[in-house]
């Protein structure tokens, strides 16, 4: 279609995508980086803090971007990260 789509869709406010909440079990993390590298929405980044093993576990970069695909949970070799559906209560 030659008309480039440039408008903000009229229903963009109404569409609700479920958001995910990422939980990191920091002391289990071995710092392999798979979750950060392969997250499709780039939700995670390496944190500055050290865990008990002396590595930098991941932290959430952008709260609202996680779509709860749970790939981080599936690809973590150490059972150190998982995601749950954010409990909205009308606030997201």
């Amino acid at each position: 279609m030659p008309l480039r789509l440039w408008r903000k869709p009229l229903d963009s406010e109404k569409i609700k995508i479920p958001e995910g909440e990422v939980h990191v079990l920091k002391d289990r993390c071995k710092g392999c980086g798979f979750c950060i590298e392969f997250c499709p929405k780039e939700v995670l980044e390496q944190s500055e803090e050290f865990n008990i093993k002396g590595v930098h576990p991941p932290q959430v970069k952008e709260e609202t971007v996680c779509i709860l695909c749970s790939f981080c949970e599936a690809v973590c070799p150490d059972f150190a990260i998982f995601s749950v559906k954010k409990d909205c209560k009308g606030g997201c």
């Binding site: 939980h23 990191v24 079990l25 289990r28 071995k30 710092g31 392999c32 980086g33 798979f34 590298e37 392969f38 590595v55 790939f71 949970e73 599936a74 690809v75 973590c76 070799p77 150490d78 059972f79 150190a80 998982f82």
Partner: protein, 279 residues
């Protein structure tokens, strides 16, 4: 984020976490996919037996909250066959390494496949003997560097899926630890299938193998899987190559055949009836 517990805690043996596998090792992902499959099909974990051999992956049976055998080098399939025949109601899963299953354990593998013993074999293929320091094995690629091939490997590796298919396995698949969703689906399938099933999982060994072959981190090895993997379902396993440019993955074979114990018990019944008849 306090007192969170990972959704899979109940499938992991108490006190065994964290596991001994290196940072970036794919064995943890295999464990992750395996317990996810157990959870998804809602199987009774008391009816699952995990048998492993010697190697890094051999530690896996100790981490699953199931009845487990951690057996001698190469004999996991022999043990599993015995366990299955003794108690056919148990789902007997063998999770072991490439060296354990195909070097010292090669003979057990081909005959168990030939007999179609109802066991499910998941092979963690990391292209070397990792636990003992990184020696070359039957799946080490040509020209690869290992501690016992310091000038490059001069042996051609096995094509494991071709071997399994040729030996008569009823389900043959290959995935990498990056393709977690499809790997989980395959494991779910074999847990609900009867017959000798084989899943080859290409797994990163960055510390021992990868580091010596220009892929020093888990991320580098996983990115190799990403760019090189080509999904070819239902294709000829003989042409499923593994090279620096291409890793052919997919479900190659999914067939049905009467299992060894099914035929055995049928024969037993027939013989006993004949004896009774002659009396």
């Amino acid at each position: 984020m306090s007192e969170d517990s990972h959704p899979f805690e109940r499938f992991l043996r108490d006190g065994m976490m964290p596991h001994i596998w290196c940072e970036g090792c794919g064995n943890g992902i295999i464990l992750n996919c395996f317990v996810r499959a157990l959870k998804d099909i809602e199987i009774d974990v008391n009816k699952v037996v995990v048998v492993s051999g010697i190697g890094c992956i051999g530690r896996l049976s100790g981490y699953t909250n199931t009845d487990s055998y951690h057996t001698t080098h190469g004999r996991a399939i022999a043990f599993a066959t015995g366990a299955k025949l003794a108690n056919p109601e148990l789902k007997t899963v063998v999770i072991s390494g490439d060296g354990d299953l195909f070097a010292i354990g090669g003979n057990h593998f081909i005959h168990a496949a030939r007999r179609n013993v109802d066991i499910q074999v998941i092979c963690a293929n990391n292209f070397n003997y990792g636990m003992t320091g990184g020696q070359y094995g039957p799946t080490t690629p040509l020209k690869a560097w290992t501690t016992t091939t310091p000038y490059g490997n001069i042996e051609h590796p096995f094509n494991l899926v071709h071997l399994a298919a040729a030996s008569g396995a009823v389900y043959v698949a290959r995935w990498t630890t990056l393709h977690v969703r499809r790997l989980t689906e395959s494991i779910k399938k074999v847990l609900q299938k009867e017959g000798f099933s084989f899943i080859e999982v290409i797994t990163p060994c960055p510390e021992i193998y990868g580091r010596r072959n220009k892929m020093a981190t888990g991320i580098e090895m996983m990115n190799w899987f990403k760019t090189a993997a080509e999904i070819r379902n239902a294709s000829d396993p003989a042409e499923a190559e593994i090279s620096p440019e291409k890793i052919v993955v997919g479900e190659f074979i999914d067939a049905e055949k009467p299992t060894y114990d099914h035929l055995l018990r049928e024969m037993m019944k027939q013989v006993q009836e004949r004896i009774r008849g002659e009396k």
